[in-house]
Symmetry: C2
Subunit: 216 residues, 2 copies
């Protein structure tokens, strides 16, 4: 296991800058919307889905499915692109790969509700995203798509739910983005402070050991 | 970014063994329930939570909170341990760290439902788990806990939901586990085949490029 540690590079400007070292794969991840014109080969795309495949899930249910579309197949690509809301279509049309994630909401074995279905699709998508970064690709996940249109386009069954879409490709020049998105991509990421969401003993009571180490 | 590639080591026995290379951090992850008696220092614990902090989320909402308890604080530890169902208490009591994840179900800005709340807590938990592995720690996530007890114990507000618990510690000897859990830990992981959950163009239609590359 690699032991390198890296602090998120663009967080230095933040009051809440991280004090704890992170694995570089986690430290360097961020959402990118600017893509080059390079295609993604199927070997690399396979690795991304393989990464999702090996994510953990409650009861090993693996409640995830993915619809993928690449620019190599124009018809499929346009079909999935059309599920995005217009403000995402504008930049995501440049991504060589689009992915739609889908959660099965019930356990296959007994039909009962799987309350961790979306949670575990999130884990699979996190793995997919990190593998994409490891393969040199940029990813931007999107909530902004037409769930009903996706359901109808792909005849997604009632006990399944379209969850997110993602645009994936080789990193490109932010100058290709609109001014608003360029600023967004170039601005340091912001996060809540650890003491605002890591508690011990009582709700909203910051975990002392963690906070003391930061501030000590 | 490290470029090493590793195939999941225990998957060789499977018909559906992976053909696509994975980043080692993703390839080597698996749930482990046997812990040594070593404690986890607060610097390392801080890195795990820092990893969760930098996970992506819809609208950068960061809907996650965590309650942590370590064996260094016996009272807090017993309190969180008592939220687990009995079959998990039996082995998780040996873990030096317990974590409870909580999702805020509404957007802080406008109170509307955040349909990606659990999804994004899943992403944060995936990052936490991978950072734990990178730090040499074993993790087992658990669905088996008493949600209502956790809610009451920590006065978790109505618009928040307890999601999962996790046991974290240094890897130990599987001989300390019950026969059933030992077998579970020593058995190769199983996953669905890519063609069963990666589609293109139509629901249940395997993505040709991905499948062709596997089988070609």
């Amino acid at each position: 296991m690699p032991n390198e540690v890296v602090l998120p590079s663009d967080a230095a400007a933040e009051l809440s800058a991280p004090k704890y070292p992170l694995h570089p794969l986690l430290a360097q991840r961020r959402s990118l919307r600017a893509f080059s014109s390079g295609l993604v080969d199927s070997q690399t795309l396979g690795s991304l889905l393989e990464a999702a495949r090996w994510a953990p899930s409650s009861m090993n249910e693996q409640p995830w499915s993915f619809v993928v579309a690449t620019q190599q197949n124009e018809e499929n690509f346009q079909c999935l692109l059309a599920c995005l809301l217009e403000f995402n279509v504008r930049w995501a049309r440049s991504a060589p790969v689009l992915v739609l994630s889908i959660a099965r909401l019930t356990f296959a074995s007994n039909g009962e509700i799987n309350r961790h279905a979306l949670h575990d699709v999130g884990q699979a998508m996190a793995h997919l995203t990190l593998q994409a970064n490891a393969s040199g690709l940029a990813v931007c996940q999107m909530a902004g798509f037409d769930i009903q249109r996706a359901r109808e386009t792909y005849s997604i069954p009632d006990d399944h739910e379209p969850v997110t879409m993602a645009a994936i490709g080789h990193p490109g020049d932010p100058a290709t983005l609109s001014e608003r998105l360029r600023q967004k991509q170039l601005t340091p990421q912001k996060r809540n402070r650890l003491e605002d969401f890591v508690f011990e003993g009582k709700w909203k009571q910051p975990a002392q050991d963690v906070v003391r180490t930061i501030n000590g």
